[in-house]
Assembly symmetry: none
Homo-oligomer: 143 residues x 4
Amino acid sequence: MSEVVVRKAQISREYAAKMIERALERAKELEKNVSIAVVDDGGYLVAFARMDAANPSSVKIALDKAFTAATTRIATHKWFEILENDAPLRAGAAIGVERLIVFGGGQPILHEGAVVGAIGVSGGHWTGDTDIGSAALGILENA
Amino acid sequence: MSEVVVRKAQISREYAAKMIERALERAKELEKNVSIAVVDDGGYLVAFARMDAANPSSVKIALDKAFTAATTRIATHKWFEILENDAPLRAGAAIGVERLIVFGGGQPILHEGAVVGAIGVSGGHWTGDTDIGSAALGILENA
Amino acid sequence: MSEVVVRKAQISREYAAKMIERALERAKELEKNVSIAVVDDGGYLVAFARMDAANPSSVKIALDKAFTAATTRIATHKWFEILENDAPLRAGAAIGVERLIVFGGGQPILHEGAVVGAIGVSGGHWTGDTDIGSAALGILENA
Amino acid sequence: MSEVVVRKAQISREYAAKMIERALERAKELEKNVSIAVVDDGGYLVAFARMDAANPSSVKIALDKAFTAATTRIATHKWFEILENDAPLRAGAAIGVERLIVFGGGQPILHEGAVVGAIGVSGGHWTGDTDIGSAALGILENA
């Protein structure tokens, strides 16, 4: 029998805020100045922080990285790996898909096997941005 | 104790399709030619149908009506009532809020007290559009 | 003798709906979760369905693939082949042409030698998306 | 003597976060579900929070209210008063000026007589949104 609705979930504001606290801490350790965005499963913003010395450009990139990871269910650094081995996607995905970011810093937030949101970090090199996002995701493991 | 996620739901594709079937039936009874869109709780399209004689403009209006009702949690005909008694909103809401439609035809889909999506109908006068949407919502009452 | 009008045709809603039914069936066989859009000869949406587990990003990509195939009269996977052998187009088409998708999943719907619409599929890899669209086009052969 | 630079300031991330904490507290007192954005003097986001039950539409409206207040240096509820007494502006400002919101909820953040950012609140009626923003601004008085 079919169901009227499909059950799902979104990251809570409180945990989004905790993730941002952890990301800020990790960014300080790495001496990076970043913007951090946490969005829900549909890519809508839940929480955000920009460090005082992070550049203005980092705002939109962090938002778009989180949007990409939430709405495609794929981390932005994985997108690059996908493009590398696929010429048509390489030619068209980053351009043709709205707000698609294909370098590291955006990662889905998984809960009970489902994507319930995403975190996007921007401001340093994308490798550091990914590291900061991973640190934030780490707090959910024992939650 | 705070929770990692907030539980929610979205209208299933099968029920979205059933709603559209019912809307088409009602539109034929009223001799209207319309587009019908069903979106999820975040305004993302789930199902859509345009009758053969419905105008091209009805496509985007149906999508925007559904988007308005889903993302503001308020039916588009209620938006007009709100604006009527509120001069600042009247001056600015329809213009300043992206994709906000303030005439009838968009209605939230409620399930267990929560908005799980919306239906948008466009192509006839907005009173008929609302009637068609209401007929589609009716099938959920005994579901 | 010149004519007042140019006769044309658009895919009917009923056949668009049948194409989507077939596409859903094929997607299930392939264990893919996709969005499927059918548009008319002007790129205006006629019918749409998103499977419950398809990601939100697939909505706009399916619409844009169908729009590309309908309004350029060229399948999106053919666009890549064209770009490969044409440096100026490669430099500019995907960027300069609005909503142009250059990886597979969008295909024109032909009827009596003319484009009467297009189907766009998104959510899996573009090779599978194309397969699903082709299955849907197949129902028109004996129609 | 002319100067090479013009000194200015932007709201710090820490105080932006404190303002959001206060806004959340006030929203709970008023039983409202809102999004809250704090931007710098150029309209770039510094901090953001969306309550779990706030609708998706509130995200962009809060951002735009803050953007309006920061970049025009005028609170969004004052914009309506200005429009009321100025026919040309009334005809054109809300339409012609990008992201201009003309109902309450966006307020500049003043420090030593200068605008150093803005707060935008959306999700309830604009009168309550303004009240919540004012509460957040209040914490700066004794800072």
